[in-house]
Symmetry: C2
Amino acid sequence: MEDKSSRRRSRNPSDRPTGRRSTIKDVAKEARVSAGTVSRVTSNNPTVQPHIRARVAAAVAKLGYRPSAAAQSMRTAATKLIGCIVSDFSNPLYSAILRSAEPVLADEGYTLIIASSDDRLDREIALFETFARRRVDGVIAVLSDEKDPALLQTIQSAGFPVLLMERDAHFHAHVIATDHAGGMRQAVEYLISLGHERIALVTGSTQTRSGRDRAAGYRAAFSAAGMPVDEALLRCESLTTAFAFDETQRLFALAKPPTAMIAGGNLMLAGVLRALKILGQTIPEDVSVISSGETELAELASPSISVVRWDLAAFGRQAAALMLGRMREPEQPPRRIVVPCELALRKSCASPRR
Amino acid sequence: MEDKSSRRRSRNPSDRPTGRRSTIKDVAKEARVSAGTVSRVTSNNPTVQPHIRARVAAAVAKLGYRPSAAAQSMRTAATKLIGCIVSDFSNPLYSAILRSAEPVLADEGYTLIIASSDDRLDREIALFETFARRRVDGVIAVLSDEKDPALLQTIQSAGFPVLLMERDAHFHAHVIATDHAGGMRQAVEYLISLGHERIALVTGSTQTRSGRDRAAGYRAAFSAAGMPVDEALLRCESLTTAFAFDETQRLFALAKPPTAMIAGGNLMLAGVLRALKILGQTIPEDVSVISSGETELAELASPSISVVRWDLAAFGRQAAALMLGRMREPEQPPRRIVVPCELALRKSCASPRR
DNA sequence: CTGTTAGCGCATTCAG
DNA sequence: CTGAATGCGCTAACAG
C-alpha cells in the first residue's frame, strides 16, 4: 500500500511536474506573492519586507527555482557573456591568459565562451557572427589578420565592444599587447654583446603586430650596434612548432649558418630544439638559443634555455579589466596597454666559436 | 552642403535607428512579409517560395539582422550551450581535450562555456548553478569529489545531462576515462623487468578515479610479480607540480630511497625533474623515471623521458560524441568509455645499480 | 505556401 | 512596499 501523502501534490521538493522547470510564477504561487515580488527578491532589490523575502526564499529553495538567464537577457539586453577568440585555446599562452582573465570577469558575473579559430579568417568571421547572435556583452580576441575588410566589417556590425590582444586595432577597440619589440631587442643586444653576428630569428608573420614588433626589436638592436641585418636569417612566417623545426634545419643548411637562434614564439622552442638535436648541434657550444615565452621546457631542458618572458597572469587580469572598463563606458577612447618583457638568462648562450 | 541622400531613411545599411539592433519585425517590414516567414527563412524551412526567400535574405543582409539566441532559446528550450568544468583550464591536459571536443560540438551548433573550478567544491557547485541558470544543454566535467552529497544534489536538480571525465559516476551520467590502471601496470612491470624493486609513485588522491586507477595498476603489477608493495613509496595526494617536487625530495630523504620514480600526472614531471636536479640525481643512472601523459618536456628533456600516453584528441572527440548522444537521448543507459594507454620507451630508464 | 496568434520567463513600469 | 500589466524577440500551431 502506498504512502498516503504521496498522493498530495506539491509536497516532495522534486515533484514539480516532471520535466518542467519551475518558473517565477510557480514560485510566486508557492510564496503567495506576485511574480514581481519574486523578481525583486532574486535580484536583491532591498524594497521587500523581510518576512516576505523569507517566504519567497523558502519557495525558491523548495522548488529549486533558478531564474532563466535567457529570459533575463531578453528583458535587460545584457547577457553577461564574454566571447573569446584565439587561434588555438590549447596553446598554453592563450589558455594561461584566459585563465587569469576568467576570475576577474567571473567576479562581475560574466561567463566566458571560448573558441578557437585555427587562425582562419572564415572561422573568425563565423565566430563573430555566432557571438553576435548570442548577444555577448564583449569579445576578447586575437585576430589572424589585423585588417581584412570582411572581418572588420563583421566586427563593426556585430555591435559589441572588442578587446584585441597582441594586435593593432584598425577600428575602435582597446588593445593589450606584450612589448615584444623591447624584449627582442634585449635578447639580440645580449647576443651581440657575446660576440654574435649571425643571429637567426624565427617568428610569426609581420602581418601581425607581434611578428612586426619582434622583427622591429631585432632590427633596432642591430642598428644600435651599427651592424647590418642579414635578411636570410630573418624568418617571419608562422608561430608553429613545425615552422620552427623546418626553418632551423634550413638555416643550418646555409653556407654560413647562424651562431645564435631566437625562437620568437612559445611553441617554437620545441621545434628548434628538436631540429638542433637531429642536426647534432650542441647548445651553447655550437649555437646559442633564446626563446620568447616562459615554458617548463625552457626551464628544464638541458641546458636550460634563456627566455624573454613577461607576466601572463597580469596580462590576463589587465585584459579583463580593460574589457570591463570598455563595457561600462562603451564610448571611452581606445586604450593601449603594453606589458613589459624581461630577459631571463640561463645556460643556453655563449660566445660564438672562432 | 550635405549629400541629399543622407536625409533619406533606410538607405545606408547601418542606419537602423542607432543603437537598436534590428529585429525579426524590422526584417518582416522591410521584406513586406510576416515575421513568421522571416523565421522560416532563417531556419531554412523549405516551405518558402524562392522569390520570397530571396527578398527576405536581402532584407536580412541589408539590416544586418541576426536572430537573438536568447529569444530563440526562450521558445525552443534549447540553448545550444555546453558547459565545461575542469580544475584548471590552462592545464594542457584539459585544454587539449576540450580543444578537440570543440569542433565536434561546434559542427552541431554548440558553443562551449569553459570554466575552472580550482578543484574547489564550492566553485563547482556555483558553476553548476550558473550553468543551470543559463540552461546549458549539457555539461562536461571533471569533478574534484566524486560523491559529495551537496554537489550531487546540485547536479541532480540542475536537470541537464552530464558527462564525467576521468571520474566514476555516482549518478546517471556517461563517463569517459583513461585506462590509467593498465598504463601504470605496464610502466611498473617494465621497471620491475629492469630489476627495480623500490619504485615510487606520486599521483593524485585515491578519492578520485584516476588516482585510484593508477594506484591499482601499480599494485597489480607488484602482485603479479609476487613482490610486496612498500607503502612508503606510494604518494597519492595531489596532481600538482608542487606536490611532485616536495614528495620527490622526501622520497630521497628516506633511508632506502627509490631507484625509480613514476610521475602520475602530466603536471608532475616538472616537479620531479626539478627536485632531482637539486638533489643531484642523474637519470637514468641514479634513478629511472617514467611520466604519465605525453608532454614536450618529456620528449625534449635530456635524457628524454619514457611516458605512459594516450590519444588526447580521440579522448576529446569521443567525449563530444558521448555528450551529443546523451543530449539526443537523455534516457539512454549510462555508457562508459575507456581510452587505452601505451608505454612509450625513451632514455630515462635503466637497471638499478647494485 | 504565408499570415496571424499566442505565449516562452522575466523585469519593469505604473497604480494602489 | 506590493500587485497587475506589458512587452523583450522569437517560433510553432493554426487558419486561410
